[in-house]
Amino acid sequence: MTTYDVLFTIAGAISVASALLAVSTKHLIHSALWLIVSLVALSGCYFVLGAEFVALVQLLVYVGAVVILVLFALMLTRAPIGRSHEHDTPLMQRAAALVVGAATAALLATVLISAFGNDKKRVDGGTTHALATRLFGTWVWPFELLSALLLVALIAALALARLPIGRRDTARGAVK
């Protein structure tokens, strides 16, 4: 056990525990806040593995933007302070979610253990330079495709937001 192992285990445990809290808490906003803890701990895992750039972008994008948007959206609803049971899911759904989650975890664990077993691997491919060479070398086409997809989604969202919902005169005609 090196220091890295210990740190990785701690960060991973925090991440998993807060993720569980995020889906099980009865306080609506608390689940978004636990999500922040989980994402920060996950970025800690990336840090320990030496993928500094990925870790920082994880913080910048997920904590700095995505969760803030989630919080903003929650504040626009009637997110109450204290426990609320209005949004509780039925027991069946919870059981199904548990089964799916456990199955995915088992699948991932089996694949990883069968692929790597107990081998010791040096993890050193995560530096910013290495990442950039891979991203803009080997993986440049998927990367460009993804950015085109995001651009299309962005323009579409803008178009939807600016689209007039029902012409004013036709709406008036319908009333008559």
Partner: protein, 320 residues
């Protein structure tokens, strides 16, 4: 063992800078604003031109009762002020005062500063929501809307500086700096200054705390030390943003005799930007919410994108 000692020493220096610099900026704000408005500002505390005013303020805040409203979400309410202050402490740790004079040398320190100051905004949101007060909630929502809008131009122009230097590290960027940047990166620097003022929710971008309509926005229900922490976080934010811009656009420690007094250059350059941010507060009236969004999306983002294009062209042309 010497490594350990070095880490402790560096951390202590960062903490000392974090406790001193924001107070200096706060005192400067008191005096500069007062003189710009034809007043004297604090004159009594400490004797000489009221130099101990903020220390007296601190003592006053510490004596006040720490009230948690009955309707508040207590745990979130208590944790919120800490987030803002800790995030700026982390940000200050990577700002270089010289080629070897910094708290920590992270290879991606530019993104580090931007990422951890994003965590600080979560603190404001938590404060706004957990107070159990409609003014606070409105303030929190305005904060979220404003910070998401202004984060984009801030990151875009930071990317422009990083591309120009070919490095994500603040030390690397300061090393790569040359005087041409003063013109080449000028639009980016202006966008950065405006967006940073907005990120700090300083006037004229203080719609979230607009005191004439929202009392004090997300901070309405806070008293005593927790309220002081929010104020301290604001001044720490000015320090971090000013020194960041000084490193990015003015080359940090670069200047005459910089091997001996590099740290002094950083302090002077950062001080200039802190002064500008204070001056902006006095000079412009508060922007309305829609004007605020308009400035971000129709003003700053296009200029930032243009700056990014100019930088990219410049880098490609000069690299051949």
């Amino acid at each position: 063992m010497s490594d350990f000692l070095e880490i402790v020493l560096r951390s202590a220096c960062v903490l000392a800078a974090f406790l001193v610099l924001p107070l200096l900026v706060g005192q400067t704000e008191h005096k500069v604003m007062a003189h710009m408005q034809g007043r004297l500002g604090p004159m009594e505390a400490g004797g000489f031109h009221g130099w101990a005013q903020l220390i007296a303020d601190g003592v006053k805040f510490a004596q006040k009762e720490d009230v948690v409203p009955l309707a508040a979400d207590k745990s979130v309410f208590r944790v919120a002020p800490a987030l803002g202050i800790v995030s700026y402490l982390f940000a200050l740790a990577v700002i270089p005062f010289g080629p070897h004079f910094f708290g920590a040398n992270v290879p991606g320190s530019l993104i580090w500063v931007l990422a951890v100051s994003g965590i600080g905004t979560v603190g404001t949101l938590m404060a706004g929501w957990s107070s159990g007060n409609k003014y606070s909630l409105l303030g929190g929502m305005r904060t979220a809307a404003q910070l998401v809008s202004y984060e984009l131009p801030l990151i875009l122009v930071s990317a422009s500086f990083a591309i120009a230097a070919g490095s994500l590290s603040l030390v690397g960027i300061a090393h790569a700096w040359n005087p041409w940047w003063l013109i080449w990166q000028l639009p980016g620097a202006l966008v950065f200054l405006v967006a940073a003022t907005a990120e700090l929710q300083r006037p004229p971008f203080d719609m979230p705390v607009a005191d004439s309509e929202l009392v004090m926005g997300p901070y309405t229900e806070y008293t005593g030390l927790r309220f002081a922490l929010f104020l301290l976080a604001e001044y720490a934010g000015i320090v971090v943003m000013s020194f960041l811009l000084a490193t990015l656009w003015l080359g940090g420690w670069t200047g005459p005799f910089d091997h001996a007094i590099g740290w002094l250059w950083v302090l002077i350059k950062g001080g200039i930007f802190s002064f500008l941010i204070i001056w902006i507060r006095v000079a412009w009236p508060r922007l309305r919410e829609d004007q605020l969004q308009r400035v971000a999306w129709l003003g700053l983002v296009p200029i930032a994108l243009l700056q990014l294009a100019i930088t990219a062209v410049g880098v490609v042309v000069t690299s051949q």
